[in-house]
């Protein structure tokens, strides 16, 4: 998969990514979001690595019941679990919002800060600011955000140092099966 659209705004620290071939679908979704079928919401407390993952697990079970293809399901589960771990590991806690539509899922994470100092660096595979506790658990390889990007059809990360972080991604049910 190649990066087809990387947009960097001068004033707002933001990372945007749309997988090749999904540009029109993503634009259409952003302009006219369809009616949501199901909405879920999960709190992710700071440094609680047992609660982190519950949202992804329930989302996975829900989508499995809805008949989402297992390869697509795996991509959704991995991306949202990585994001949940990120919120637990790096922020003062946050919330995961999952919105299921007819043909895609939109998952959004909003935390209480303290934000990302350098988004470009954070997106670099192998770069990590994880503390010892997180590393002892086997996280903190600097692969979380790259894994989220790899599994998403579109992804946006907005953050300011000292402020909150918002991460969202879209995955289409009839999308890539690799």
């Amino acid at each position: 998969m190649r990066v087809s659209a990387v947009v960097r705004f001068r004033e707002m620290p933001e990372y945007c990514y749309v997988a090749e071939g999904f540009e029109d679908a993503v634009r259409q979704f952003e302009e006219h979001a369809p009616l949501a079928e199901v909405k879920t919401e999960f709190a992710i407390p700071e440094k609680d690595f047992n609660t982190a993952g519950k949202g992804s697990s329930e989302l996975k079970n829900l989508l499995k019941r809805l008949g989402v293809d297992s390869v697509v399901l795996r991509r959704i589960a991995v991306a949202s679990y990585e994001a949940e771990i990120n919120v637990a590991a790096h922020s003062k806690g946050g919330i995961m919002y999952g919105t299921v539509y007819d043909d895609l899922i939109h998952v959004r994470f909003e935390d209480e800060g303290p934000g990302i100092a350098n988004i470009e660096q954070a997106m670099t595979p192998g770069f990590s600011t994880a503390d010892d506790l997180v590393r002892e658990l086997g996280f903190g390889a600097g692969l979380g955000l790259p894994n989220i990007k790899k599994n998403s059809d579109a992804m946006r990360l907005v953050s300011v140092a000292g402020g909150r972080t918002k991460l969202e991604f879209l995955i289409y049910f009839a999308g890539r099966f690799e």
């Binding site: 297992s70 795996r74 589960a77 679990y81 996280f139 390889a141 692969l143 894994n147």
Partner: protein, 113 residues
């Protein structure tokens, strides 16, 4: 593909989730890593995961990635809470006294690679 039960016999493994039948699980290989994001990024659904990590998040990672069984090296045995969670997720937990190198090598041979 071989049955997980054949591999367990070859590594003298102990099944910590006896409610799951290793005769029913087919495997095509293994992924060896102790970094959880590395596993989520690269392991494939029909592979077993060979590791020394044995805390609760390991089960979540296996579940999200679609891994059918985890092989704990060097005699590392999971505690009861981890086994319960694994059963809930239908992930077979096996421990063996062998080291990672031998665990991977044994499977490599069994698969005729």
């Amino acid at each position: 593909m071989i049955k997980l039960s054949e591999y367990i016999a070859a590594i003298k493994g102990e099944n910590h989730t006896p409610a799951l039948d290793p005769d029913e699980i087919e495997i095509s290989g293994a992924y060896v890593s102790d970094m959880l994001s590395d596993v989520m990024g690269s392991a494939k659904p029909e592979q077993v995961w060979i590791t020394i990590m044995k805390h609760l998040n390991v089960i979540a990672v296996a579940s999200m990635t679609g891994i059918p069984a985890i092989i704990f090296a060097k005699g590392h045995a999971p505690d009861a809470a981890v086994c319960d969670k694994a059963l809930e997720e239908s992930i077979c937990l096996i421990s063996s006294k062998l080291e990672t190198f031998d665990l991977a090598g044994t499977l490599y041979k069994l698969l005729g690679k």
